[in-house]
C-alpha cells in the first residue's frame, strides 16, 4: 500500500515516515517542499494520503470528487470512521486527517491514522514542553534583571532582593515574574544593569 505523507513540518514528516516504514508492507512517500498536494497525489497515485491540516492546499484535494471534469483518474475522499467518532474527533483536534484514493479503498487506514495521531501528540507535547521551558527561561531572565535593579537601587544583597520579590508575590498572590515585570516597568528599564 502506498502512503503519501503531506506535512509542511519536515521534522514531523520525516518522523512519521520513519514510523510507517517500520511496516514493510507500506510504501511511504512524502510531498516535496513547494509541491502542491494535488500535484503530488496526481504524480504518486497513493492509496492513502495523511495530511497535516495546517496545509491550506488541502481544499484542492478535499473537493476533487465534486469536479465534473476528471482532475484525477482515481477519486479521492476524506477517510471517515463512523463507528469510531472519538478517533475522528481526536484526529481533527490534533491536526491530522486522512484521505483514501478510492480505486480500491484500503481497509487498514485506521492503524495509519492512529500512528499519525500518536506522533502528532508527541510533537504537540514536545512543543508544549519547549514553550514551557522557554517561558520559564524568559521569566528567570526577568526576575534576574529586576533583582539586579533592586540591588542597585536599594543597596541590597541578591538574597535580600529575592526575598523582597518573593514576599511581594505572596502578598499579591501573583507570580514572582509578574512582580518583577511590574518593578521593571515602574523603574526605568534602561537603568537595569
Amino acid at each position: 500500500m502506498t502512503v503519501l505523507v503531506a506535512d509542511g513540518n519536515t521534522r514531523r514528516a520525516r518522523a512519521l515516515s520513519d514510523d510507517l516504514r517500520a511496516d514493510p508492507s507500506l510504501h511511504v512517500l512524502s510531498v516535496p517542499a513547494g509541491m502542491a498536494l494535488i500535484d503530488a497525489v496526481r504524480q504518486h497515485q497513493p492509496d492513502v494520503v495523511l495530511v497535516d491540516m495546517g496545509r491550506a492546499d488541502r481544499d484542492a484535494l478535499d473537493s476533487i470528487r465534486a469536479l465534473s471534469q476528471p482532475a484525477l483518474e482515481r477519486p479521492v475522499a476524506l477517510f471517515v470512521d463512523r463507528d469510531d467518532v472519538q478517533l475522528m474527533e481526536t484526529a481533527f483536534d490534533i491536526g491530522i486527517c486522512s484521505y483514501n484514493v478510492l480505486d480500491a479503498p484500503p481497509d487498514d487506514v485506521k492503524p495509519l491514522l492512529r500512528a499519525a495521531i500518536a506522533l502528532y501528540s508527541r510533537f504537540q507535547r514536545t512543543r508544549g514542553e519547549l514553550t514551557e521551558a522557554q517561558r520559564k527561561l524568559a521569566e528567570q531572565k526577568l526576575v534576574d534583571q529586576a533583582k539586579r535593579l533592586f540591588m542597585k537601587n536599594e543597596n541590597a544583597t541578591e538574597d535580600q532582593a529575592y526575598r523582597w520579590f518573593r514576599r511581594r508575590a505572596m502578598q499579591s498572590a501573583r507570580r514572582i515574574a509578574a512582580v518583577a515585570a511590574d518593578y521593571l516597568s515602574a523603574h526605568d528599564r534602561n537603568d537595569a544593569p
Binding site: 491540516m53 491550506a56 492546499d57 488541502r58 478535499d62 473537493s63 465534473s68 471517515v80 475522528m88 481533527f92
Partner: protein, 312 residues
C-alpha cells in the same frame, strides 16, 4: 458547554463582524466566552463543524449545506444563525483587459474572453476558493453569461484565497473568483483586472453567514445580539479606516493580516464596484433559491434537498 465558544473563520474582510465582536468586547458584554480559530482552509472549517472541534463558523451557504448533509462523509447538525455579509466577490483575470471595462454579457463578452485567451496561449486556469463555494457558482454563471462552458472552456483549480496573489504573480493561474480583499489586492498590485463579480452576476447575494452547531444552540440569542452590534459598527462609514487597520494586524495582535489598502477599498462602495455589505439578518429561503438551484443543476443535491434549502 464548558469550553469557550470556538468560532472558525478564514482571513477575509467579511470575517470582520466576528473579529470586531471579540476585539470590542461585544461577545463578553453578552456573556459569551469566544475563541476565534483562524483556519487555513475551508476544509478545516467543515471538518471542525462535523467533528466538533468548532462550535460555530463564518461560512458560505453551499459549503454549510454540504457539510450539514454529510457530503464530506459525516453529517453535522448545524443551523444558520444569521447573515453576516452580502456580495464582495470579485472575478479577476491576469494580464490586460481587452475592453478596459467589466465585460458585458453575450457575444461581446465572449469575444473579449477569446481575445484575452489568445494572449494567454493556453486554456485559462481559473481558481475558486473551494468547490462548494458561492465563488464557483458565480464563476459558472459568469462563464455561461459570456458563452463559455466551465467544463471544457477553462481548467478549474481550487486554491486558498490568500494564495491567489502569488499564484497570479507566478502565472500559475490566469484568474479566478475570490472573496474580499484578495481580488482587490490583485488589482491594486497590477496582477489582474476586474471583469465582474457579485454585483454583476448575482446582485446582493448572501455571501457569509454564521452557522452554529447544537453545542452552541444555548448561546444563539446572545451570539446573534453581539454580532448584530458588530455588524452595525462595520456598516458605519466612519469606522472603515479603523476596521481595515484592525484587520491588517497579525492574528496574534487581534487581526487577520489582510492587506490594509485593499481591505479599506472593499469596505467602500465609492472605491470598488464590488463592496462587502455587512448585514445581520435572518437567513431567508429567498437567499438560498439561486444557490440551491445551481447546486441542483451541478448534481450536488437532489430535488428534496433543493426544496428543503436552509432548513437543512
Amino acid at each position: 458547554m464548558t469550553h469557550a465558544l470556538r468560532i472558525g473563520l478564514l482571513r477575509l474582510t467579511d470575517s470582520a463582524p466576528v473579529i470586531i465582536a471579540r476585539n470590542h468586547g461585544l461577545f463578553a458584554q453578552h456573556g459569551i466566552a469566544a475563541e476565534i480559530v483562524v483556519s487555513p482552509s475551508w476544509s478545516n472549517i467543515a471538518d471542525g463543524l462535523a467533528w466538533r472541534t468548532l462550535d460555530a463558523a463564518v461560512i458560505f451557504p453551499p459549503l454549510a449545506m454540504m457539510t450539514a448533509l454529510g457530503r464530506r462523509g459525516h453529517a453535522a447538525s448545524l443551523r444558520p444563525l444569521c447573515t453576516l455579509s452580502r456580495g464582495g466577490n470579485t472575478l479577476v483575470l491576469r494580464g490586460t483587459n481587452p475592453l478596459a471595462t467589466p465585460w458585458p454579457t453575450g457575444p461581446a463578452g465572449h469575444q473579449a474572453f477569446a481575445q484575452w485567451q489568445r494572449g494567454l496561449g493556453r486554456r485559462p486556469r481559473l481558481a475558486v476558493v473551494h468547490m462548494y463555494s458561492t465563488h464557483l457558482l458565480i464563476l459558472r454563471r459568469f462563464l455561461r453569461m459570456i458563452g463559455v462552458d466551465m467544463d471544457s472552456g477553462i481548467e478549474l483549480v481550487v486554491m486558498p484565497p490568500a494564495d491567489m496573489i502569488s499564484a497570479l504573480a507566478d502565472r500559475a493561474i490566469d484568474g479566478g473568483c475570490v472573496g474580499p480583499s484578495w481580488g482587490t489586492e490583485a488589482c491594486l498590485r497590477g496582477l489582474g483586472f476586474l471583469v465582474g463579480g457579485s454585483s454583476t452576476i448575482v446582485p446582493g447575494h448572501l455571501e457569509k453567514l454564521l452557522v452554529v452547531s447544537d453545542a452552541a444552540a444555548g448561546q444563539a440569542d446572545r451570539l446573534k445580539a453581539a454580532l448584530g452590534e458588530a455588524v452595525s459598527y462595520c456598516r458605519a462609514p466612519a469606522n472603515r479606516h479603523a476596521i481595515a487597520q484592525g484587520l491588517a494586524l497579525p492574528p496574534e495582535e487581534g487581526g487577520l493580516a489582510l492587506p490594509a489598502r485593499a481591505t479599506f477599498a472593499t469596505l467602500d462602495e465609492k472605491t470598488t464596484p464590488e463592496p462587502v455589505t455587512f448585514v445581520a439578518e435572518e437567513v431567508t429561503e429567498a437567499d438560498f433559491d439561486w444557490i440551491t438551484q445551481d447546486m441542483f443543476d451541478l448534481g450536488w443535491i437532489d430535488e428534496s434537498e433543493r426544496e428543503a434549502g436552509p432548513k437543512r
